[in-house]
């Protein structure tokens, strides 16, 4: 049986990659993808901890469904933004600040 720590390490690596991508990327699409990686890191953790019962896996399924919805909304937002601004560079979307 693969030790728990391996799963956790994988999840930590994925989480770091996702967080890094969100912090440094300007392209909205890439930011959305990084967000998915973040969520999947969390899912791995949930599955990894569900050794005694299956509750963790149920949570992971919920989480995947919600992630799908979220991506749908996120992509729709990006499309609308692109229609207005002709770009999906997130740095240009700062018109609501002072």
């Amino acid at each position: 049986m693969i030790p728990l720590e391996w799963y956790l390490a994988l999840a930590a690596v994925l989480f770091s990659i996702g967080a890094y991508g969100i912090l440094v990327e300007r392209n909205g699409l890439k930011v959305l993808m990084c967000l998915e990686i973040l969520l999947n890191a969390a899912n791995i953790n949930l599955v990894a901890f569900s050794r005694e019962n299956l509750m963790g896996q149920e949570f992971a399924l919920f989480s995947i469904a919600i992630a799908a919805c979220e991506v749908a909304v996120g992509l729709a937002l990006l499309i609308m933004l692109f229609r207005y601004m002709d770009t999906i560079d997130l740095e240009t979307f700062n018109i609501l600040r002072w």
Binding site: L23, V24, V31, L90, L96, R97
Partner: protein, 641 residues
């Protein structure tokens, strides 16, 4: 089931009349007036019924708790209150009846009757009150109604200004009165119902108050009376108050409002008696006002203003009577009230006659435009002659008996204390009163008509002349009641109590001296002499006045400008002095108060403009902050930090 148990309805009925008149008066018979007249008629009937009870010896003093320990509402009926109640309700009824005719054409007729009804309610409530706080509330209600009614024709700028002037001037007195009440309260607050009158009537209570406080209280009350009863120097509002409808002037001058000040002094007479020196001030101030106003009455040409000055002058007599009463004790209240009531009859009569004249002349008020009206309006002319005779103190009219008594007492006061000042003042004033009253009558009713309007004057309608006849009867024959009246009202205060209080105040009663015969008939001589002088000048034209009436004559100039008091009050005090204070206050407000507020907002804005740089609008920045925050949180929980 005596009348006296229902005496509070005397004040409640006009209040109900006010509400009904205000909301549905417009839709009733002839656009209003019905409810007010019925209400006041009811008050008069109850007042007269109660008078019968009180004559039979009944007294009542009932209070119910109001909102705070010892603050009560209630009513008090004693001889002093009941004669006032009868006079106020009866004279007010006459004026209301007359107003049915006088205000017939007015578009706001129902509003007028609502306000006069409330006015009457205020005055009746003031008289009924059994404690000072309640009296003060009604006192203010009367002041408010006077403002509303003087400014009733608000679209005239003079009327609006006059209403404001009346309100502000009487307010000076009201503040003094309130200060007096507060000072009294501090001295008696240990008693169960501190401001009730029955303590004022009690020697044990007044004894515990320091004499200096008593004098201060008495003088502050006098200040209130000076404002309400328009004594010098707060009399300036009354001549301007003539801008209101004439019926309002009659109400203010005869039945309600101005008599309230005299009533206050009479009601709190034990305090005045117990306070050293206060009554001397009352006597001299009253006497001086009587003379002062009489001189002003000589020069004005406005028929209503002549009467206004005569009111100030006659109120001076009443106040003077209370002052010189320090040598005779409790009876002074009876003498003063007798003049108050006979004055109410003849002054209401005179004003209503003046109203009839104005009605007949399309509101021309200048005496110089009248003349020869006796033939055109005989009833009004005769009624006004009776009123004028009574005001002048012509022998055997009501005014003669009441005024004669005051002048005689003033002489006795002079003989007893050596202070003849009040006597001289009011004696000269009596002469001047006769002169200016008959100047008015001769100028208006005799000679040739001096204007188109006077040629085409017409007599007033029946509903207006009937009250004139009733009031004229009283003005002629009320004097017959004098000895009974003195006994009745003079016994209002226990004479032993007054005597003990007089010791406290340092006054000494004197047995009535035999007044010299010449002094006894002097008032009558003054009256007849004054009428004679007026006859000589304005009827027979034996003296040519035109060379005296000019702006070059300094005496005339001073009188014409009303001793420059209006100038002093308005220009010097109101504008210069208060203007300077207002300037300082404005600077303080602008630079200090506003400065603090502006400084605070400036600081907030500056801090904000620095801090807002944090909000870049770049998503990455926010996300970085979130991640750093989460990492810090984890480290904190994990115990690394």
């Amino acid at each position: 089931m005596a009348w006296i148990d229902y005496a509070y309805w005397i004040a409640l009925l006009p209040l109900i009349g006010f509400v009904l008149e205000l909301f549905i008066g417009k839709y009733t018979y002839k656009r209003g007036g019905l409810f007010a007249n019925l209400a006041i008629l009811g008050s008069t009937i109850i007042a007269l019924g109660t008078l019968m009870d009180v004559l039979g010896g009944a007294r009542i003093d009932v209070s119910v708790p109001w909102f705070y320990d010892g603050i009560v509402v209630g009513y008090l009926i004693d001889p002093l209150a009941i004669v006032m109640l009868c006079m106020v309700s009866f004279v007010s009824l006459m004026i209301h009846l007359y107003a049915l005719g006088y205000m017939e054409e007015d578009p706001d007729k129902s509003l007028y009757f609502a306000e006069t009804s409330l006015f009457t309610c205020g005055m009746l409530g003031l008289v009924l009150s059994n404690n000072l706080l309640q009296l003060f509330i009604f006192w203010e209600l009367v002041g408010l109604c006077s403002y509303l009614l003087i400014g009733f024709w608000w679209y005239k700028p003079e009327a609006a200004a006059a209403g404001k002037k009346a309100f502000l001037t009487t307010r000076v007195g009201d503040v003094l009165f309130l200060a007096g009440i507060i000072l009294l309260y501090f001295n008696v607050s240990h008693l169960p119902e501190p401001l009730s009158f029955r303590y004022i009537f009690s020697f044990e209570v007044l004894e515990t108050i320091p004499p200096a406080h008593l004098t201060a209280i008495a003088l502050l009350f006098l200040g209130g009376a000076v404002g309400k009863s328009s004594q010098f120097p707060l009399h300036v509002w009354i001549p301007d108050a003539m801008e209101g409808p004439t019926t309002v002037s009659a109400l203010i001058h005869a039945a309600t409002m101005v008599t309230a000040g005299i009533y206050l002094v009479a009601r709190t007479y034990p305090i005045f008696m117990a306070s050293p020196n206060a009554l001397v001030v009352v006597a001299v101030l009253g006497g001086f006002t009587a003379l002062f106003a009489a001189t002003l009455g000589l020069v004005v040409n406005d028929i209503k203003r002549v009467l206004a000055y005569s009111t100030i002058s006659q109120l001076g007599y009443m106040l003077c009577m209370l002052g010189v009463g320090s040598i005779i004790g409790a009876f002074a209240v009876g003498y003063s009230l007798f003049h108050l009531i006979s004055h109410a009859f003849f002054k209401a009569l005179l004003f209503l006659c003046a109203g009839a004249v104005l009605h007949g002349l399309a509101n021309a008020r200048d005496l110089r435009e009248m003349g020869g009206l006796l033939k055109k309006m005989p009833v009004t002319g005769i009624a006004m002659l009776i009123g004028a005779l009574s005001l002048s103190g012509f022998p055997l009219t009501a005014g003669f008996f009441s005024k004669d008594r005051i002048i005689e007492t003033a002489y006795e006061y002079g003989a007893a204390t050596g202070n003849f000042l009040p006597w001289i003042f009011i004696l000269v004033a009596a002469l001047l009163t006769a002169i200016y009253t008959f100047r008015l009558w001769f100028m208006a009713f005799t000679g040739e008509p001096r204007s188109y309007l006077a040629e085409h004057a017409h007599e007033a309608s029946k509903i207006m002349t009937t009250p004139l006849i009733v009031l004229a009867t009283f003005a002629l024959f009320f004097g017959l009641a004098q000895s009974r009246f003195y006994e009745f009202v003079g016994a209002n205060f226990d004479s032993h109590l007054i005597e003990e209080l007089a010791h406290l105040g340092g006054y000494h009663f004197h047995e009535a001296h035999a007044v010299p015969f010449i002094v006894m008939i002097l008032p009558a001589i003054c009256a007849i002499g004054g009428i004679g002088i007026a006859y000589g000048i304005w009827y027979n034209s034996r003296v040519d006045l035109s060379k005296y009436i000019s702006k070059d004559n300094p005496i005339y100039k001073v009188l014409w400008n009303k001793y420059y008091l209006d100038y002093i009050f308005k220009d010097l005090i109101a504008e210069r002095l208060f203007g300077f204070v207002a300037l300082l206050a404005e600077a303080f407000d602008k630079y200090i108060i506003d400065g603090v507020v502006n400084a605070i907002s400036w600081i907030v804005i500056k801090i904000g403009s620095v801090l807002r740089k944090v909000q870049t609008g770049v998503v990455e920045t926010y996300a970085t902050a979130v991640v750093i925050g989460v990492v810090l949180l984890i480290m904190l929980i994990g115990g690394v930090l």
